[in-house]
């Protein structure tokens, strides 16, 4: 009779060896129970009262506790409460042993933390069944707990990995000069993992590039693309490449490395403080808004292009919109997170609401924060893990954004080419397809000590080159740029005439020779145009109204001399430089 174990436990499931604590003040009851349980193959600990049960539990942490309800010193109810406390997160099934029969007493057993009760005298079949049931409950609990711990461990590891990855991303996809006083931006701290990217870089010419990208998808796949974009952006911006060059390079790279279906919606702005203009390319992002300070009107520039990384470069288009800007005009860029932020009815924030917020915000400096607040209010959440990305770029005076190069101190002057000259003539095909400025700048930066002056040198080169090309070779009239309409027409004509260019040339003659702690750089730019009446123009002084004519006067402030040579198709600039000691 006592030997009936195998009739209860199915053969294929071997009996689990448990450690069971039995607490009963009645010696004979305890002995009977101990005998039954031991025969099942379990290890038994015995206690004669509640206190002893607690002590043994503390030492041995058994799997199941069989507890007599009524015992001297500490009774079963109190012992149960203490044991449960000691067990903490672990499930230790407590079964009350009781000769009590009334419902209230039995309920008290469960209220004290017992999972079940067993009435005296013991029925061994029921006892075995209960032990078995609670053992499997305990196993289930352990499994859940183990899985919970694994998930939590996994999650901790994931967060740690993300933190490390984020540091790497932050170092590569750093926001550049995003803290410049003319930029406001909103970017979630973990934005890189929702695929949003904001980059800003000063250009050697003194201008500024701003890039907002939004990769499809989330998490690591979205973040991976950010790295090459950022490297290309900063690398090329510093070397003086044009917006078109940078976009083509990014598109080429993304098309090559990203799987089909993953791409980057983007917008890039080339801001020129001197020309008071912005050149803008939008591919796949919501309309860029331009807010005019004086008229308080809002213009919108819709996306005209495919996102980056969708088509090969032979189909990739880089047409841009060039707009004149007054001081205080603002450009707003955003990812679709702002526009698509939904309230609990699923209604999107939408562009119309953006315009309404802009229209009702009196103080122009608060438009940005007003939009942010309105979106958050609409979506009704204040969490940090949202993916609202928004950038405001405003037109300011160049002085207000600070020096391009912060590099200071005596540069490394040993070695490198210091005494040389070169001529470089660009013929029509090259003029049509190639921007020579990065190459020439790169060459000049090989002169030891000259790098801190690259901003000025780039400015000089680009002003001289664009004058030679646009006025000399293409014959464009800068008067056109006096009005906003003409300004746009000027750039359209420039594109048109350049693509139809089959004769003419621009020639650079560059000469550098070293002096004590510095050097003299002479740049002569000559074009094949007819020249112009430079004497009249010089005596009249350049007007600095409208959208043109800031170039040459600016260059004059940077160098020793600017000299036009007859018949006006040749200009010579002499630039003295010294190392700051």
């Amino acid at each position: 009779m006592i030997n009936g174990t195998s009739s209860i436990a199915p053969l294929e499931e071997p009996q689990e060896q448990l450690r069971i604590l039995i607490a009963d003040d009645n010696d004979s009851d305890r002995l009977i129970l101990q005998t039954i349980v031991r025969k099942e193959g379990h290890t038994v600990y015995t206690a004669r009262d509640g206190q002893e049960a607690i002590d043994i539990f503390r030492q041995e942490s058994p799997d199941i506790v069989l507890l007599d309800a009524l015992m001297p010193n500490v009774d079963g109810f109190e012992a149960a409460r203490t044991i449960k406390q000691l067990a903490g997160d672990n499930l230790v099934p407590i079964i009350f042993l009781t000769s009590l029969r009334d419902a209230t007493s039995l309920a008290d057993c469960l209220a004290a933390g017992g999972l079940d009760f067993l009435s005296k005298p013991y029925n061994r079949i029921i006892l075995q069944a209960k032990i078995k049931a609670f053992a499997s409950m305990r196993r289930l609990h352990e499994t859940v707990q183990r899985q919970r711990d694994e998930i939590s461990l996994h999650n901790d590891r994931l967060i740690h990995e993300q933190e490390v990855a984020k540091q790497v991303f932050d170092n590569i996809a750093h926001p550049g000069c995003i803290d410049a006083p003319n930029i406001k931006y909103l970017l979630s701290p973990m934005a890189v993992f929702n695929g949003d990217l904001v980059l800003a870089s000063r250009k050697p010419s003194g201008g500024m590039f701003v890039f907002l990208g939004d990769f499809t998808g989330h998490g690591l796949p979205a973040a991976i693309g950010a790295m090459p974009v950022s490297e290309i952006f900063y690398g090329m911006a510093q070397k003086g490449f044009s917006l078109q060059d940078v976009l083509r390079e990014i598109n080429k790279k993304l098309k090559r490395i990203l799987p089909v279906g993953v791409f980057c919606c983007a917008c890039m702005v080339d801001l020129s403080f001197r020309k008071r203009s912005a050149e803008i390319w939008v591919g796949g992002l919501p309309d860029v808004l331009v807010y005019r300070k004086n008229s308080r009107e809002v213009e919108c520039l819709p996306s005209r292009h495919l996102p980056l990384g969708v088509v090969d470069n032979d189909r990739f288009k880089t047409e841009t919109t060039v707009i004149p800007l007054e001081l205080g005009d603002r450009i707003f860029l955003w990812s679709d997170g702002i526009i698509e932020a939904s309230n609990d009815q699923g209604e999107m924030f939408g562009e119309e609401r953006v315009r309404q917020v802009i229209a009702r915000t009196e103080n122009q400096d608060q438009i940005f924060s007003a939009i942010e607040a309105a979106v958050e209010k609409h979506a009704g959440r204040g969490e940090q893990d949202d993916d609202y990305t928004m950038v405001e770029v405003s037109m300011v005076n160049e002085e207000d954004v600070g020096e391009y190069f912060a590099e200071r101190g005596k540069s490394f002057l040993a070695g490198g080419p210091k005494d040389w000259s070169m001529t470089y003539e660009l013929r029509p095909q090259t003029l049509r397809e190639f921007n020579p400025l990065p190459l020439i700048t790169h060459l000049l930066m090989e002169v030891p000590g000259l790098r801190p002056h690259s901003g000025k040198i780039y400015t000089i080169l680009s002003e001289l080159y664009s004058n030679a090309l646009e006025h000399g070779v293409l014959g464009l009239k800068s008067d056109l740029k006096a009005s906003a309409d003409g300004f746009a027409r000027y750039y359209m004509e420039r594109t048109q005439k350049l693509s139809d260019l089959y004769e003419g040339a621009v020639k650079f003659l560059i000469d550098h020779h070293p002096v004590q702690d510095g050097g003299v750089l002479t740049i002569v730019v000559e074009d094949t145009g007819p020249g112009f009446d430079f004497q009249a123009k010089e005596s009249a002084e350049h007007k600095t109204e409208g959208y043109s004519g800031r170039g040459i006067p600016l260059i004059r402030t940077m160098c020793r001399s600017v000299r036009y040579l007859p018949p006006g198709n040749k200009v010579e600039v002499v630039f003295d430089w010294h190392v700051d000691v």
Partner: protein, 100 residues
């Protein structure tokens, strides 16, 4: 969200998308054009009952385009509601698909 496709005897595969077209449709959308008896000559994506599409849906359309022969593919996207159309327009997908 539900997606089903029908093959016409003329060799056209029509894929209908009902509800939100987003990442959750990934596998179903792929099955719709991969599990066909015959390679279709042309594809029609019917968005009549599509309420919304997100950027991952744009990605899925590009995957379909790639599957259908890339630049040589013949894919029409039809019956778009204004919201859906707007999203396709922002991304300038009319350069890659025929959108009616």
């Amino acid at each position: 969200m539900a997606i089903w496709s029908t093959e016409a005897s003329s060799g056209e595969l029509t894929i209908k998308i009902q509800g939100r077209f987003d990442f959750s449709a990934h596998q179903e959308f792929r099955d719709a054009y991969e599990k066909v008896s015959e390679e279709p000559k042309a594809y029609i994506v019917d968005m009549k009952e599509t309420t919304y599409l997100d950027s991952s849906a744009l990605g899925m359309l590009l995957l379909l385009r790639d599957h259908a022969g890339g630049d040589n593919s013949n894919i029409e996207i039809i019956n778009c509601n204004p919201d859906v159309k707007k999203i396709l327009t922002i991304s300038n997908f009319e350069q890659l698909f025929t959108i009616r």
